[in-house]
Symmetry: C2
Subunit: 420 residues, 2 copies
């Protein structure tokens, strides 16, 4: 029987390896005899405007595929767009399924995080309600690693590797420049509610580096006064103090530390508070209280875009879940998210499975309290054992003229303005 087409989209915050999943979807779909692989531009939001491309126009050979695996951010563009409940707005569903039918789509793959799995759930529910035959598969993606049921998410390992490496380089920088001067550096790491990324700063600890002095995850209530006292105590013993904090730490009143700075409470399309400024608030606070030199470092979007420092395990697993999504759909499955199961830690082995997306959507996975020390200011060895296999190996960028080359579709078409 002749196979139809595949439609794939990317959603939510970009990662260093989300395009490796896209590459996996494309390659497996081609290998399994699907006719075309269409890519939604800017996720479901762009698709509703009939914005999509034929991926074979861009991925013409194995080299393109390898470049795509090394390209950060979303090749297709993403959106933050939440589908309404089916009973609230049937029209939007009718519109989507009309387009799917028109394009002869058999398989719909959405690569994203919690919010994207909600999209898969609703679309597959609608298909069941209406007897539509398209299959809907979710592909996990988020640097935050906060998706339930999967051992970890593609994107997390590379972000963790970047965070561990950069923390180590920053600590080295601080130590090299510290004679007879006390200085405190506060590193701010992404992770609104889950501390997986912030905990990864502990990866810098090893034979050649002491790691950060303290690490604060959003899972534990943050006490500014207690923190200040701890820094003061540390400064009596050593000149250089480096602390890692999550952007999402809150005090016991439930107020984000970053909100203690005036004018920082804008929200995004999902009602999430925009986070930034935690490190700079604490650096100013410590400077005022203790008088020492302080510095705030925010890893900012660099931590999710640094494909030049991607983990090989992560790139390969991202590719694998993309392929597994097509395989599952090809075997008739729908309404599931592909998950990664850890088979063994040492040697590290993993495989893919699938879970009913109803069990996954909107459930956040936090760092277990027992993986954080009693004082609430460091991660335990269990945490390190969990993350270490995920940062192994590199996926060397292809350097052209000294910089990593990416695969792009020349998104802006904008050139030669301002004497460029």
């Amino acid at each position: 029987m002749k196979k139809g087409n595949v439609l794939v989209g990317q959603s939510g915050g970009p990662t260093a390896v989300i395009n490796s999943s896209l590459a996996g979807v494309f390659k497996t779909a081609m290998d399994r005899g699907f006719h075309k692989v269409y890519g939604m531009r800017y996720g479901i939001q762009g698709f509703l405007d009939e914005q999509y491309v034929d991926l074979s126009d861009y991925i013409k050979n194995e080299l393109d595929l390898e470049l795509l695996k090394r390209t950060p951010s979303a090749f297709l563009g993403t959106c933050r767009f939440k589908l309404p409940a089916i009973h609230e707005d049937k029209e939007i569903y009718e519109r989507i399924f009309e387009l799917l039918q028109k394009m002869d789509i058999e398989v719909f793959v959405y690569i994203g995080g919690n919010d994207s799995m909600d999209t898969i759930k609703k679309l597959s529910d609608y298909a069941i309600l209406t007897g539509a035959t398209q299959r809907f598969i979710g592909c996990p993606k988020t640097i935050d690693n906060d998706l339930a049921l999967t051992d970890h998410t593609p994107g997390y390992g590379s972000a963790a590797k970047y965070i561990g490496t950069s923390t180590k380089e920053i600590i080295r920088d601080c130590l090299g420049f510290s004679y007879k001067k006390k200085n405190v550096t506060i590193i701010e790491v992404m992770g609104r509610n889950a501390g997986w990324l912030t905990g990864a700063t502990a990866l810098s600890k090893g034979e050649d580096c002491d790691g950060p002095d303290m690490i604060y995850l959003p899972e534990v209530v943050f006490d500014v006064e207690k923190f200040t006292n701890q820094v003061e105590r540390l400064l009596k013993k050593k000149d250089v103090v480096v602390v890692a904090v999550s952007e999402g730490i809150k005090n016991k009143e439930g107020t984000y530390i970053c909100q203690l700075t005036a004018g920082s409470d804008s929200t995004d399309a999902f009602g999430h508070i925009q986070m930034t400024g935690t490190a700079s608030y604490l650096a100013n606070y410590i400077h005022e209280k203790l008088g020492c030199k302080t510095r705030a470092v925010e890893f900012s979007t660099l931590q999710r875009a640094a494909s030049h420092l991607a983990s090989r395990i992560d790139v390969n697993e991202a590719f694998m879940v993309g392929g597994a999504a097509i395989k599952a759909a090809d075997e008739g499955t729908s309404g599931v998210m592909v998950v990664i199961d850890r088979l063994s830690d040492d040697p590290y082995q993993s495989s893919t499975g699938v879970y009913d997306v109803h069990r996954i959507a909107n459930g956040e996975k936090f760092v277990p309290r027992e993986w954080i020390n009693k004082e609430g200011n460091y991660v335990t060895n269990e945490f390190i054992s969990y993350v270490k296999p995920l940062i192994q190996g590199d996926y060397a960028p292809m350097l052209v003229d000294g910089l990593p080359r990416h695969l792009t579709m020349n998104a802006t078409g904008y050139k030669d303005v301002y004497g460029k």
Copy 2:
């Protein structure tokens, strides 16, 4: 004739390759039959406290040497310590030369920037005045690339490579996440008075990336209003605007933009103003004026510490100038700085020379006005042709357990506090 010992120190802000110069000094000194290579801890400041080490205690083999070349920040530690004029405080010079004699030092190498070359000048002047026979050689080092007479400085190429790569990854991130939303990203790059680093953001421009929309160097007066109008005009044509600014841009009144934010005018030991917050000031300003979403990204100390992304040309040249310093001293030269001469652009070739340190000290090298476009908001192709050869090739980190391994002397000796 039996040779004496070498004393080497590192000074000023660390770079990704300052230790490669240290490795060059060590190796060439050993190869040329010097007895011992001592390293000052924390530059001349630590040395005055008799803090030094025998480098052969740490560099035991070729592997250690290779690790040292890959270790960011200053292996020996640095200081910011300016020697007084000789007539102001003879005692400090007497103390230094007494130590040099006691340690049988024949050659004194100081790896640093403008301020460090001042140290070499004063010490070699004092040697001439007193008939001391030690030779004093300066080894250039600074990410800022603001040293006169040398074509460029070791440290600049790797910082430029990091800045170009990260800018490209940030632009990609912005583009992937922009559907029906206008957003402006302001990237802040180091460089107090010279725009060499900020200009390197233009390296991201190429076949697969449009590069930043505008680039503002400190060499040109910055006009906040004009800048806002240009951003507004760009936003009419495109959704994603990315701008790079130097931390040191000033308005026509001569006020640093970062000082327009309240409470940011602390100074360092040399009376330099501490810079930070330029991007965040402009991001807030644009957000208020134009209402669009804005983001400030500071490369912070990451840009000088990212040895994981070092340029091979830079690592090798840093090693080469370290070796050339020893060679010059061994041949009887003193009171000079080693410089890099560019022999050819394509294929790129360079060699070392030496210049009288009196001609170099305290003179800053700026980006020539003709390498900045007429509007003052981008660099020209001449700038790109200058910097491109310096970022070529990689010097792959040695990954141990997923992270780059460094050579260290376990500077803190501080362990097992707070449940680590």
